[in-house]
């Protein structure tokens, strides 16, 4: 029997994987993809919970998360392009003009 816990643990693992990615990857696009991974983990949680609880709120939430993810992708990638134009790089370690 697949229980809710299975899904929850899986999503927790995925969420953590995403977090690790954000913390370690240097390519801004990859970092962003890891954030997407985190969001997807959240999505899985929501849908699993929604299915368990028997109401649609969680699924609607996922809907909005997807919307937001899309919008963020648009804006984020635009930012990266703008940065790349000036710096010829999207390595996060090159975001070091502002510090201290």
């Amino acid at each position: 029997m697949i229980t809710l816990t299975h899904y929850m643990v899986l999503s927790a693992l995925l969420f953590t994987l995403g977090t690790i990615g954000v913390l370690t990857r240097k390519n801004a696009i990859v970092v962003f993809m890891c954030v997407e991974l985190m969001l997807n983990a959240v999505n899985l949680t929501f849908i699993a919970l929604s299915s368990h609880l028997g109401n649609m709120d969680g699924q609607i939430f996922v809907f909005f998360i997807m919307t937001v993810a899309a919008a963020e992708a648009a804006v984020g990638l635009a930012l990266m392009i703008a940065f790349f134009r000036n710096r010829e790089s999207i390595d996060v370690e090159d975001f070091s003009l502002l510090k201290w």
Binding site: T19, V22, L23, T24, R25, K26, V31, V92, E93, F95, S96, L97, L98, K99, W100
Partner: protein, 659 residues
């Protein structure tokens, strides 16, 4: 009747204001001098008036409240005056001497820079001194007390461009302040302890009335009186606070005469006499006073033996004579003390003024000859009796008086003190012995002074030799008056023993002062072995001592002038010690002055700057420093920021969930 007592201090104050404010404009020395003399003379006249009135008045103690001064809670202080026989005598003494000395100064200070300044200070001093003696409560007395200290400071430092002079002034003030510290403490304790009994007062009359409330001989009274005595030692230059007086000779000679011989330095004696009722209740203090007085008398006399500066010899002699007065106070012979105060004022003022006259002449001569020799050094003098006859005669009279030659004033007063120091219930033969030995030394060094100055060969540099003039009349006149007083002043207080001899000559002074010392009369009881015959014996011993002293001086300084040199060669260390005043100043410097300065420096540069401020700045530095460290957490790398967030989340969750 005594409404206008305030006029007495007022006149000199007005004189002070006139000369102080307008002196620069007046310029004319004669007018300045006249104003000053007149001011103090007026107050002398008024004093005489009131004194006469007092003599006729059956009621001898009068208080005059002029105005309220400080009123707060239980503390009521008025500007009030007290006229009783004691203060009556003192105002006469002060205003009279001040008049003479001011007059003298007109001549002596001629041509000095700051002439008006000098006279205004003199008047201010007279004002303060009169406040002191007239003050009806301890605080008004204290006004005068500090006021004379201030004037002393100003007048010692009169030649302010001279470092030694201004140093001496400062020393005088500070040492006096140490005494004042004691005075204040005594006053506080007295006020508090009487207050505990329900009487909150610092008025002398009320203190005298209520002093019986305190435990006789108890700790409180002893502490109070010891504190007051500390004040007295400061003002009256007793051990341990005498060191300022010799230095004070940096001031012009009239100042030394007026302040450092005749009036101010006796304030301590006066103060003890004023509170005799209180002191009488503290036998321990009385004993201390007597011992200190005797010790000072002897100690200062020893130093006086070896000084070459004419004024310094007189200064140490003053310290020594004040010691006698304290000895008298200590054995309960208040009248004798006051008597000696008066006679001492006469002869010591005369001596100082005489020495001033000498210095004036020497200075004139050296100035004429363009020499830089010290006009005060006795080794430059000698044989002056011919050049300055009036000065010599008056000086000699006074010296005889101080040496205790019979029928000069000093004989009566000193002898009475010595007698009481033996015969009083509080007396002891050791006290007498010390006093007598000091008298021997006194006779010796005073005649040493006379012989070195007026007898023998003239040792003045040849160029100046013939230009030593006798002083003008304005200088010699006060000398003559004072010499007369010094000679005959003793008749005021002829001892009973002698009085009987001369056909029941009364002891005027004792009778007059009796109301003041009424409560302490019991101390005057003569203990067992005191009798008239003993008194005669002691008197003879005194005379003998004086004669011996003079004789030694004559041998050493007239007959065999090389003797002193031999003596010095025989006991070099002793001489050096005596000559350097037993190194007491150096001792104080090493024990008190330098450590205090050092402490100040340490507190400032180490405690204040390093420790306290270091702590303050240290906190600031730590804050800023930790800010600087924290700042480097802000690396600019995005994943570090993300890491910080993740760690934050992890930690917060851990903490909350564990809780």
């Amino acid at each position: 009747m005594y409404d206008n007592l305030w006029l007495i201090p007022l006149f000199p104050f007005v004189g002070f204001l006139i000369n102080g404010l307008l002196g620069k404009k007046i310029r004319n020395e004669k007018i300045i001098g006249a104003i000053a003399t007149l001011a103090i003379f007026s107050s002398f006249v008024v004093s005489c008036h009131y004194f006469m009135q007092l003599l006729d008045d059956p009621q001898k103690i009068h208080q005059v409240v002029v105005a309220k001064w400080i009123t707060a809670g239980p503390l009521h202080v008025n500007w009030e005056f007290l006229l009783d026989p004691l203060s009556g005598l003192m105002i006469l003494n002060v205003s009279g001497l001040a008049t003479l000395i001011t007059l003298y100064s007109i001549g002596y200070m001629h041509g000095e820079e700051g002439y008006a300044r000098f006279f205004s200070y003199m008047n201010l001093f007279a004002f303060a001194m009169l406040m002191l003696v007239l003050g009806g409560n301890a605080l008004v007395l204290f006004v005068g007390w500090e006021g004379v200290g201030l004037c002393s400071y100003l007048l010692i430092g009169y030649y302010y461009e001279k470092k030694s002079a201004s140093d001496a002034g400062k020393k005088a003030f500070v040492v006096n302040r140490v005494g004042d510290f004691g005075f204040l403490l005594g006053l506080f304790t007295l006020f508090w302890s009487l207050g505990q009994k329900g009487v909150w007062t610092i008025n002398f009359v009320e203190i005298a009335e209520n002093v019986h409330l305190l435990e006789n001989g108890g700790l409180v009274v002893t502490v109070v009186t010891l504190c007051f005595f500390l004040g007295a030692t400061g003002k009256s230059a007793q051990i341990p606070l005498y060191t300022w007086l010799p230095d004070a000779m940096e001031g012009p000679t009239p100042v030394s005469a007026l302040i450092h011989a005749a009036t101010m330095v006796t304030a301590g004696v006066y103060m003890i006499a004023r509170m005799n009722g209180l002191f009488a209740m503290a036998p321990d203090t009385m004993m201390t006073i007597a011992i200190v007085g005797a010790a000072t008398a002897l100690f200062a006399a020893t130093i006086g033996l070896a000084q070459n500066d004419i004024k310094r010899v007189l200064a140490y002699s003053t310290v020594s004579q004040l010691g006698y007065m304290f000895l008298a106070m200590g054995v309960g012979a208040f009248t004798a003390g006051i008597f000696h105060l008066l006679t001492h004022a006469f002869f010591k003022a005369c001596l100082f003024l005489g020495s001033g006259s000498v210095i004036h002449g020497m200075h004139h001569a050296f100035h004429h000859a363009h020499l830089n020799d010290d006009p005060q050094d006795m080794r430059n003098m000698g044989g002056l009796r011919k050049k300055m006859p009036i000065t010599f005669i008056t000086f000699l009279c006074s010296t005889l008086a101080i040496s205790g030659i019979p029928f000069f004033s000093g004989f009566f007063s000193k002898d009475e003190i010595l007698w009481w120091s033996f015969a009083s219930t509080r007396g002891h033969w050791i006290l007498w012995a010390v006093g007598a030995f000091a008298a021997l030394l006194t006779a010796f060094y005073m005649f040493r002074l006379v012989f070195m100055t007026f007898f023998g060969e003239q040792k003045t540099a040849a160029a100046a030799k013939d230009h030593i003039p006798e002083s003008p009349f304005v200088i010699t006149f006060p000398l003559m008056v004072l010499a007369t007083l010094a000679t005959f002043g003793g008749l005021l207080g002829v001892p009973h023993a002698l009085g009987k001899l001369f056909g029941h000559m009364p002891n005027i002074l004792e009778e007059f002062l009796a109301p003041v010392f009424e409560h302490t009369q019991h101390l005057h009881e003569i203990h067992a072995h005191g009798s008239a015959s003993t008194e005669y014996m002691f008197m003879s011993i005194s005379v003998a001592i004086a004669v011996v002293g003079i004789g030694i001086a004559w041998v050493m300084y007239c007959k065999n002038p090389e003797l002193p040199g031999r003596f010095v060669a025989a006991f070099p260390k002793l001489h050096r010690a005596v000559f350097n005043k037993w190194y007491i100043d150096e001792f104080y410097d090493a024990m008190v002055v330098n450590p205090t300065k050092k402490l100040g420096t340490v507190l400032w540069q180490i405690f204040d700057a390093r420790f306290v401020d270091g702590l303050v700045n240290g906190v600031a530095k730590v804050v800023r420093g930790s800010g600087r460290v924290l700042r480097y957490t802000q690396t600019g790398y995005t994943h570090n920021y993300a890491l910080s967030m993740a760690v934050g989340v992890v930690v917060i969750i851990a903490i909350c969930v564990i809780n």
